[in-house]
Symmetry: C2
């Protein structure tokens, strides 16, 4: 008999545990070019579900009576474009891939593979926008981007990755800020919390961690099981920086030419890395039902041909009933594997609910539910199994969020003591809420000494009368420090 694939435990080697799940659940594989990945069907099916949840929310939202629409902009960015916004060029050029030849000839101007598309998009915006009537312009694109990665990790940091990038232009700064905050809340937080079942902190990045060229970067941060934080998504208030660099102007309601106010925002296949690390366990992948390509698997159990016939008849009927409730289900008919192997196999692949049906179950008019999240086994009456399965998936979705929230709460603490901050971030990890004066010097010193960074300045940052954790200055608020991916 084939042996179930083994997964390194988290306590033994967290990083190996993560790689094992990605490779053995066949979510992704290393590509021939270092730093690149192949997203395999099991992984891509999750991305299809996740991106469609995001896309639906992006299209349903907007400002000033308009909704976002999708478009597609080119892969290639002329070298001179990237150079136009000073911070932007400094932030991105070092990690770019450069095309020097095309169609058998050396190019007159080098082309950069887009690391992000502000420059090429806003060049077009400057052609398309002429009046306040053209505003707001609310576009999004789904695309691949390339940022050279020296320490690649599948999904988490890859040289090429897939993402969506929204780029909007507005009449006023207020409206641009409204857009950036709305996307963070109604698209990113909503998808991450209600679909991915991962609770997040939300707030502003500190100035040192802003997107190159932005006035402000808003973000959401989640906590992984090893106590490290992971940035889940960002939205940027670009002010008029790019508008000036690319001359994106409009005639306002009084006939005067004005620069537009812009935002950009994106989330990527990195979210799949977060999804894996937030919920999975030592048996393999754990997926929230809303993102599981297969939500229910039915494993038939039999010994004789006679039993087989009866069991498969009942299992096939149940499969059909489950499908009719809108739940995706697979009946595992593989002859070459025993049920025990199938159990391990589907657990490793993260199917939220396994239904076991054997002759004794049928006699008793029931089936066995094995819950992937808790490992719990329960019985359900056969006649109500389809309905019960759908309810169980809802419970699992809710349970995963609650479990992750509990983990977040248990790994969040307050301290005013620098040594304790060091100790906690070194040992158990998590978010350490400490008073901060707001100066970059203190932020940098803490980072250098502890590797922990200010993950964000929360929108509802707790007020404090304490002194800054790293200097004698007064701190006005507490911010969460953590090591991060």
């Amino acid at each position: 008999m084939p042996k179930a694939k083994e997964i390194t435990s988290r306590s033994e080697n967290y990083s190996q545990w993560y790689n094992d799940i990605v490779l053995k659940a066949e979510l992704a594989d290393h590509a021939p070019v270092r730093g690149c990945m192949v997203i395999r069907p099991n992984g891509f099916a999750i991305w299809e579900k996740l991106s469609s949840e995001l896309d639906r929310r992006i299209k349903a939202t907007g400002v000033a009576g308009r909704k976002h629409r999708n478009a597609y902009f080119p892969l290639f960015i002329p070298e001179s474009y990237l150079a136009r916004e000073a911070e932007h060029v400094e932030g991105f050029v070092p990690e770019c891939a450069v095309v020097t030849h095309g169609g058998g000839k050396e190019l007159e101007e080098k082309l950069y593979i887009r690391p992000t598309s502000e420059t090429v998009m806003y060049e077009m915006y400057s052609k398309w926008i002429s009046s306040y009537r053209d505003l707001p312009l609310l576009l999004n694109q789904w695309a691949n981007v390339v940022r050279w990665e020296l320490r690649p990790r599948l999904f988490l940091r890859t040289t090429e990755f897939l993402w969506q990038e929204g780029h909007t232009a507005h009449e006023t700064h207020e409206e641009a800020i409204e857009e950036a905050l709305m996307i963070l809340r109604d698209v990113y937080v909503d998808t991450v919390e209600s679909v991915m079942a991962i609770p997040v902190l939300r707030g502003k990045k500190t100035p040192s961690q802003r997107f190159p060229g932005a006035l402000d970067t808003y973000c959401i941060e989640a906590l992984m099981q090893d106590g490290k934080a992971l940035q889940m998504g960002t939205t940027h208030d670009l002010g008029q920086n790019f508008a000036r660099a690319f001359n994106v102007r409009y005639q306002d309601r009084k006939g005067k030419m004005q620069y537009v106010w812009q935002t950009s925002w994106g989330v990527s296949t990195r979210l799949i890395g977060a999804l894996i690390m937030a919920h999975s366990d030592d048996s393999g992948l754990v997926l929230p039902p809303k993102l599981a390509p297969i939500q229910v698997v039915i494993v038939p159990i039999y010994k004789s041909d006679e039993q087989k016939q009866k069991v498969l008849e009942v299992a096939t009927k149940l499969e059909k009933e489950i499908l009719e409730t809108g739940v995706s289900v697979e009946l595992d008919l593989r002859e070459e594997f025993k049920p025990g192997y199938k159990f391990y196999d589907w657990e490793m692949r993260g199917v939220p609910l396994r239904i076991e049906i054997g002759p004794r179950d049928i006699e008793a008019g029931q089936v066995t539910f094995a819950h992937r999240d808790s490992g719990e086994k329960t019985q359900a009456p056969l006649a109500a199994a389809a309905q019960k399965a759908a309810e169980t998936l809802t419970d699992i979705q809710k349970g995963l969020f609650e479990k992750a929230k509990k983990f977040l709460d248990e790994h969040s603490c307050e301290t005013d003591d620098y040594e304790e901050l060091k100790k906690i971030t070194d040992e158990s990890g998590g978010f350490v809420w400490a008073p901060w004066c707001g100066n970059q010097e203190c932020e940098q010193r803490i980072q250098d000494e502890t590797k922990a960074t200010v993950r964000l300045v929360p929108f509802d940052a707790p007020q404090t009368n304490a002194k800054c954790i790293a200097c004698p200055e007064a701190a006005s608020m507490r911010v969460p420090f953590a090591k991060a991916y």
Copy 2:
């Protein structure tokens, strides 16, 4: 008042007519890098509909009890990979974009931006496939590819384009051929004819026009309004050529190692170019309802405020009723444009059905339907307008196919006379069915002298006793010659 955008007529300048529609209906725009395009929201919404129709069919089909699944492979292909299949490297390397620098350093090995993904995918297949149990492997990806284009045309020939590429591996040659033919029939022909409303010829490419590295290329060809043919999609029987180059082997049912049999197949954003050229007219874009992002537009007509209130009340109610039938509808509330301008504007943008509602219509309990395809105006009872609109869209979809089929039939003829073939392909264009001996020399000579090529060898090629149109040899069949995009 703003003036409606003008479109060059087909008879005046067909090529300019096409560009006018693409630019003025805001389907696409020229990107900063020559040969690349920006797909604007109006064009991208068509691609979203078209690709989702294709994706649904791809996922619903398969062979040997398995279905196709989506995956994602990297943009970068190492130079050495492209070189492994001799015909493939010769066919593609001259049109590739080459990355020589990444992350601020010169690369040890140059990377090619994928022009198609056989090589990088099959390197992975050789890792993943070990037994006949792993077969068939049926993968598809949606991706951008780059082929340097010297004479670019928006959608039709662009340096970067979007497409899907399917890549499958099989135990037997028979199964691979079955796959290639099935995709052509059940995915490509079905989508192009029943969704795009464009009739096609189907058959095999001649050896000179095969995909580089394939044993056979199957294809579908459509006729544009200028009498030129356009290749709509291809599927390739790759035999074991790539399997040998990339060592893709499996242990067969008897325990022996065998090379797999492979196929690949793709359609691209080029289809949008075909869609425009097949149906549109001198008033602008004409879209089949199944691909129209907005299927119905309601234009309210009023002069006084009193009229406006009444008309908008009725129009809003109708909009809601239409939405409820599952049809996408927009109520044009723009104050700055008069109804006449709106009529032209929506005609230019290709909305299949316009509903006009004015005070007199309401009094008479009816509305006016303006059919974009025929220009016809009909009346519908107001109470049944939503239902009638849905029916009209079905009629328009059918009517567009019939019109295109009639055009195809009227532009297809038979001749045994070389001078006549020359004359027809020079003047009216269309498919000229002529006897051909099957030799490449004749094919080449005809192409050199007339610019017409054998578009395909039809699956049901008519038998003939005539001599080859270009030499004294006997021809066994008639094949369609045409100039092509």
